[in-house]
């Protein structure tokens, strides 16, 4: 066991972890932040995507020990300070960018990382950026649309219903 300390969603936290404790296990089990999901074991589905020092990372493919001293943001930290949905979260609701909700936390975190790097992405850029996030419900249509809408682009021309 070794002690790790990090900032999670703006709050300083610490805990004792084993070497093989994954960051996602620390978040879900020790901190009870169960919004970060585990959908695969080969680092492909992206349901566990979080931000580490402002950059997206897969919490299932990183040890908690590697996050010692890091600034972590999870989906629980994405809403506005008053608890209302952030622009990205609101766009996902407005455009029906989620169904079962399981991949959604990862999608929100990846979308946030994308818009930080590229504030007005094209459709192709959004699709490419989602390469590491698998959704089985939506066929991606409304996810791509929601992310483009969250970037302030007019999505009314994209087939709706």
């Amino acid at each position: 066991m070794s002690k790790v300390s990090m900032t999670v969603n703006g709050k300083a936290v610490s805990g004792d972890v084993k070497g093989n404790t994954l960051l996602v296990e620390f978040l879900r089990e020790d901190l009870r932040l169960t919004g970060t999901h585990v959908g695969c074991d080969t680092s492909q589905c992206g349901a566990c995507t979080i931000h580490v020092n402002g950059k997206s990372a897969k919490a299932c493919t990183m040890f908690a020990a590697e996050a010692d001293g890091a600034d972590i943001t999870t989906v629980e930290g994405m809403a506005n300070a008053d608890g209302s949905l952030s622009v990205i979260q609101q766009a996902f609701q407005d455009h029906h960018g989620l169904q079962c909700g399981f991949c959604t936390p990862g999608m929100v975190m990846t979308a946030a990382a994308l818009l930080k790097e590229n504030p007005k992405p094209t459709e192709a850029e959004v699709r490419h950026y989602l390469e590491g996030n698998i959704c089985r419900c939506t066929g991606y249509h409304n996810i791509v649309k929601a992310i483009m809408a969250a970037s302030g682009q007019d999505v009314s021309a994209i087939a709706a219903e």
Partner: protein, 263 residues
């Protein structure tokens, strides 16, 4: 996963010392190693994370050579060499996915030498120098078959030096599930000749397609490749996603695309 410790040295010397322990193993970005550990296919006692060693991070361009620190994530390479070496930026910017690119490193990729990884093709096609804590290894000597390299036990890739070509292109044809290369072609044209490195295709890992190099060195054109026979499919990977013959066909088809793109 089995039990192991994770240590995070901040210097190469500390890392080497930690790696000298029995069954210690280096941990780069972990994007391949951690899934392997989850399958219990490796049993280290200690993982030595290289992510805390600042001297192994970063990209510099100097006199036509790009030097990439061994612990530099793909995303950083993609951003830093976009102007100086666009084909390399394109390669780095299409490994895995954005989250993988923020963690995975060039040193980790080259040390693992997965037969379908992207970076080995860039290193081999550019005639890169693999710099370790102990020595410098020419790419032509470094790759020794799939998952096999010239690295000794406990040896760390501290940086990679890649000569910038006059023209270059990387064409990755993705295996549809893993999104690794089914076949990837790195083409690099230098004043003294053309090098063509192929990843994803061969049972022996990344290799140079000598016939194409000769033809393109004489005549840098799509027609020059068109005139060649595809390499033999006999020694190529044959799996669910494509036969050896299909991969061999792709080697030629993608090399043509690479030449067209680089021209």
């Amino acid at each position: 996963m089995y039990n192991f410790d994770v240590v995070r040295p901040t210097s190469v010397d500390e890392a080497l010392s930690a790696l000298s322990q029995e069954d210690a193993q280096a941990l780069g970005g972990g994007q391949t190693l951690i899934p392997t550990l989850k399958q219990r296919l490796a049993m280290p006692t200690t993982l030595v994370s290289l992510s805390g060693i600042d001297s192994m991070k970063g990209v510099s361009v100097d006199g036509g050579v790009i030097t990439v620190g061994g612990a530099t994530p793909h995303a950083v390479v993609a951003g830093e060499v976009a102007d100086a070496f666009p084909a390399l930026a394109h390669l780095a910017g299409n490994i895995g996915d954005p989250a993988v690119r923020n963690r995975g490193t060039i040193g980790g990729s080259l040390a693992n030498n997965d037969p379908s990884a992207c970076y080995p093709s860039a290193a081999l096609a550019t005639g890169a120098t693999i710099v370790t804590n102990a020595r410098e290894i020419a790419a032509d000597d470094y790759f020794q078959g799939m998952f096999t390299t010239a690295l000794d036990e406990g040896e760390i890739i501290t940086s990679v030096k890649l000569p910038v070509p006059e023209k270059a292109a990387y064409i990755k044809f993705e295996q549809p599930a893993s999104r690794f290369s089914l076949v990837g072609i790195f083409l690099a044209k230098y004043a003294d000749g053309v090098r063509v490195a192929v990843t994803g295709a061969s049972n022996n890992g990344v290799f140079r397609w000598a016939e194409a190099e000769a033809a393109l060195s004489a005549d840098f054109s799509v027609a020059a490749v068109e005139g060649l026979s595809a390499p033999s499919g006999d020694d190529m990977i044959s799996d669910l996603h494509g036969s050896g013959d299909y991969r061999a066909h792709l080697v030629k088809a993608l090399t043509k695309k690479a030449v067209a793109q680089a021209s």
